[in-house]
């Protein structure tokens, strides 16, 4: 740790403030209505599961909620016997 860091005030409050603002902006939108990202996730998985036996361990889902843009990443491993069929 550099000497400079040692004397700097930690100041975690601005981080807390920013995290809260992003989170609440999202939560307020989804109150009453359901959350679009979660609906997409559930429906995409349902559609895939209709055709392929899903192995829960081979499904990776990442969501990132931002203030203006959110992303949904769905990574599903499909066994080759299905892929070539």
């Amino acid at each position: 740790m550099s000497m400079l860091k040692l004397f700097q005030r930690s100041g975690s409050a601005p981080v807390a403030r920013e995290r809260l603002q992003i989170l609440l902006a999202h939560e307020r939108k989804s109150v009453g209505r359901s959350d679009l990202l979660s609906i997409l996730r559930d429906e995409i998985l349902a559609v895939v599961a209709k055709h392929v036996a899903l192995d829960p361990d081979k499904v990776e889902i990442r969501m990132d909620r931002g203030e203006s843009v959110s992303t949904l990443e769905v990574d599903i491993e499909i066994p080759s016997k299905f892929a070539t069929a």
Binding site: R9, S10, G11, S12, A13, P14, A16, R17, R19, L20, Q21, L23, L24, E27, R28, V31, G32
Partner: protein, 271 residues
């Protein structure tokens, strides 16, 4: 005209019961007739903080179920003539709290008292919903800490949609009370500041209660903090908050808790 207030927060342990007792006592000291009502069925504690735990005979559920009449369940404070307590029951059955029953009891309390202050249980379940249901105003207790602020935001959303007033298209009056505030830490950027919290929750501020050992001391001896040491920083902050509730215009100050030299040297913090 009487006023029904719910003290709520979503998150547990932020100081709802302390606040209910302190505001109730402060209003009673100002000559108002006050009843504090414990809605935390199964986990009652307001009786303990008020120092009336050994005097509970009947409770809110008994009144709702018709086992006892309201006057039989009300406990008069030994220190203040105009302060009363309606305890919660220790039974685990939360379903005993019915919507109709609560409505009847609140209506009856409205006729008897100037102020009906309801101590909500934590969470957003049935008990919390019923505690806020018939309120005219809400005191939202928040600590300057991320999880508490988030839960307060959620509760504010419920106050604006799930209360009787909201359903009638009226607005429930909302007041934010920030508790366990440490001005020194906030100024060092280690704790969310008052401005941060107000900015995020955009709800008018009722008061700032400093982190202080007086609060624990008061609950230890079963006395509302506004009665145990009127001159202490948290007591003063609660007394001023109560005056604001009454509609008085009291200048907002950020309370400072004086620490002894030893506390400073060893970095001991208030309980």
């Amino acid at each position: 005209m009487s006023k029904v207030i719910v003290v709520t927060s979503g998150k547990g342990g932020v100081g709802k019961t302390t606040t209910t007792a302190a505001l109730g006592a402060a209003l009673a000291q100002a000559g108002e007739s006050v009843v504090v009502v414990d809605f935390d069925v199964g986990l009652r504690n307001l009786d303990l903080v008020m120092g009336a735990e050994r005097r509970v005979v009947f409770d809110l559920i008994n009144v709702i179920q018709g086992v006892a009449k309201l006057p039989q369940a009300l406990i008069r404070d030994k220190r203040l003539d105009t302060l009363w307590l309606l305890p919660a029951s220790q039974t685990r059955d939360k379903d005993a709290l019915t919507e109709d029953g609560v409505q009847k009891v609140i209506a009856e309390l409205r006729e008897k008292f100037d102020w009906v202050i309801c101590d909500s249980p934590a969470g957003i379940e049935r008990g919390a919903m019923l505690a806020m249901r018939h309120a005219d105003a809400a005191v939202i207790v928040t600590n300057p800490e991320v999880s508490s602020v988030r839960d307060s935001d959620r509760i504010i959303g419920m106050l604006d949609s799930k209360t009787e007033k909201a359903e009638k298209g009226e607005r429930i009056e909302k007041h934010l009370l920030i508790t366990r505030y440490d001005a020194a830490r906030a100024s060092r950027g280690e704790m969310l500041s008052i401005e941060d919290v107000l900015d995020i929750l955009s709800t008018p501020l009722l008061g700032i209660i400093p982190e202080s050992e007086e609060v624990l001391k008061a609950s230890n001896i079963g006395t509302p903090v506004t009665l145990s040491d009127r001159s202490s920083a948290p007591a003063q902050a609660y007394i001023e908050a109560a005056r604001r509730l009454q509609g008085e215009d009291v200048e907002m100050t950020i309370p400072l808790v004086r620490k002894g030299l030893l506390d400073k040297l060893f970095g001991r913090r208030a309980a």
